[in-house]
Amino acid sequence: MIAVAAGPNRIDPYVIPALDGVAYGLLVFVAAAGLVFCFGVANILNLAHGMLYAIGGYTAAALLDGGWASLALALGVGVLAAAAAGVLLAGLLTPVATGNHLTQALLTFGVALAGGSLLVAGFGPDDPQVLVPAALDGSVAVAGHRYAAYRLVFIVVAAALAAGLYLTVRRTRAGMLVRAAVDDPEMVACLGVSPTRIRVGVLAAGGALAGAAGVLGAPIIGPGADTADTVLLLSLVVVVLGGLGSMGGTLLAALAIGEIQTLGVALLPSAAPFLLFAAMAAVLAVRARGLAPRWAAA
């Protein structure tokens, strides 16, 4: 009798952290997918990726007023603004040879610093308030616990985004080009597809993804002076854990990060400061190419 009661009780405190790990992981996935995509496909190391997320976040803070229409508007404006910033980055990167990662890193990092300062100057040093639609601004009962309604809905939306991204890469002509560009960029160029077009398209798509993550994730990783750095760091950890080539690997890595940051912290609070990087070191030591192979193979 006691043993039966002890079973669920021992698991019970960890239900919410485990669920939250999925929400957090999916947010990290949507945020990082753009960076992995740019790196894996166009061979561009975009260190301004966190800034693109912050653009989405600040857009959400500025436009959301607690209604559904404002959420749709913020999503549209945020995606367009971040995609436009991505195109701007592509323009700045034009003189830089493909694969010259050091120059790319320096250039995009400079853009990130300048852009971050501009965002803080424009929106103020304080974290702005983010108003989610009133219907989602509460908590719901999950397995006898309270959990934030917005995060529950976010899990569904982010999962749909991930599925949409997967289908786009697997089933559409643009996706085929992207996969071809990963496998053999010279051959794609020979076939008459301009590398510039691919670069601009990929950075715009990466920006759009980061912008969408920034708007939808604003209530979870809110806009602020440190947001860009936080998101960039998490995205780079995803690259290390998940490798560059495959969406499956990226998703797996992002979910792992989510669970480490929530379930891991709940299980081992004293190890919280280094849990994430310990996991990263372990993956690097065991399997230097990440958890799964290339985009194309996913």
Binding site: Y14, P17, P125, D127, R146, G222, T262, A266, P269
Partner: protein, 397 residues
């Protein structure tokens, strides 16, 4: 064309030279030959850029508000306020302070947001023998003979509220805070006084839970542990972005109905706007609230609101009081207000009238002996505001 360029540049040089000459003669008039009604240079060092810029700007504005409401004078002397940017910490604060102390040769230094910056600037104060009337961060300092603070010591908020929490919470209390010096001090102040009052912590090992700082943005796993601990209340200290994340996530978590007590910074100033509805009903302890009912405070809040949006914070108040301290000390220093004379007079001030209520410097720590207030986030007109709901202990040695 080629002839006009040198001609023009020569004319420009002449004009510049004339300007420099007039400027330097103007300066010569201001030299401290005219005693009694002469001017005095005060240096204000605060974070006007970087992570703490919202606090830094409050500190600058608080000091300037005092000058604006007192004809730009301290102790009867026209003030030449030199403002420098402290940045994110000692690395930027020390060069800025060096300029204020050695180049501008200010008679007194005020401001400084970060405790680390104060520790960095401290040797310079010893070297130049200039007093610091700090208005925020206060690290552990051995010799406080030239260091004064109008703010508080980091362990005082927790110590002031511990007895109240013990008396009002039926059961154990969970203590949680950020893992850095400020967090350790704030939480230690609470847990020591709480244990002395006979309270028990709900934390499984009886020790405060510290969260990685500033890396922690998701507090859900900690909330799950608080729920599992059976705590009847939570005591915490966070500031800035972490305070926004903590409060917003708390309000939607499974422990949202557990009363939350905090050091006042959790809901002070700009973070309260970002938290919005999520902050409603939170109890906090602080040395100031804009709705305190005394004549000084009514005047202070009215003057503040005439210039700025929103209500003044404890940061602005501490800086306003630093100006008040300097006002009286410079006035008492007589005809020759040297840094040494000003420092000696600060030690003889006794009671200081202030919007927070009268306070005085502790002879041991050179920080205020002052009353602490219990506040709750409540509706005030259209906005949420920290409303005083009671007096707590008077703390200071």
């Amino acid at each position: 064309m080629s002839l006009t360029t040198p001609a023009r540049s020569r004319a420009l040089t002449a004009a510049l030279l004339a300007l420099v000459l007039t400027a330097s003669t103007a300066c010569a008039d201001d030299e401290p030959g005219t005693t009694g009604g002469g001017s005095i240079k005060i240096g204000l060092l605060a974070s006007l850029s970087g992570t703490y810029q919202s606090v830094g700007k409050e500190i600058r504005d608080g000091f300037e508000l005092y000058l604006d409401t007192h004809d730009g004078k301290l102790g009867g002397r026209q003030v030449d306020l030199v403002v420098a940017d402290e940045g994110n910490g000692a690395a930027t604060a020390v060069p800025a302070a060096t300029k204020l102390l050695k180049q501008d040769r200010v008679a007194a230094l005020t401001g400084i947001v970060g405790g680390g910056s104060v520790a960095g600037v401290y040797p310079l104060l010893q070297e130049t023998k200039v007093p610091l009337v700090g208005s925020n961060g206060r690290p552990e300092i051995k010799d406080v003979s030239r260091v004064w603070h109008t703010s508080y010591l980091s362990d005082e908020p927790g110590a002031a509220i511990a007895q109240h929490v013990k008396d009002n919470v039926k059961g154990s209390v969970y203590a949680i805070g950020p893992d850095y010096q400020g967090g350790w001090d704030e939480l230690r102040g609470f847990t020591e006084a709480f244990a002395k009052a006979g309270g028990t912590l709900a934390n499984p090992d009886g020790k405060t839970t510290f969260t990685p700082f500033p890396a922690t943005t998701n507090f859900t796993p900690y909330f799950a542990r608080i729920k599992a601990s059976g705590a009847q209340a939570v005591y915490t200290f966070y500031a800035g972005s972490a305070a926004v994340d903590f409060v917003k996530q708390y309000a939607q978590s499974e422990i949202k109905d557990i009363p939350l007590y905090a050091a006042g910074f959790l809901t002070e100033g700009g973070v309260l706007n970002a938290q919005g509805e999520a902050a409603r009903d939170i109890f906090s302890v602080l040395n100031y609230s804009p709705d305190l009912d005394n004549a000084e405070n009514r005047g202070f809040v009215a003057a503040w609101k005439a210039k700025h949006d929103g209500s003044p914070t404890t940061y602005a108040l501490a800086s306003y009081d630093a100006a008040a301290v300097l006002d009286r000390a410079i006035g008492a220093a007589g005809d020759d207000p040297t840094p040494e004379a000003i420092n000696a007079q600060i030690g003889k001030l006794g009671q200081i009238a202030s919007p927070r209520g009268a306070w005085q410097f502790s002879t041991v720590t050179h920080s205020p002996v002052q009353k602490w207030y219990l506040r709750q986030v409540r509706q005030d007109g259209r906005a949420l505001s920290n409303t005083v709901v009671g007096d707590l202990a008077t703390i200071g040695r």
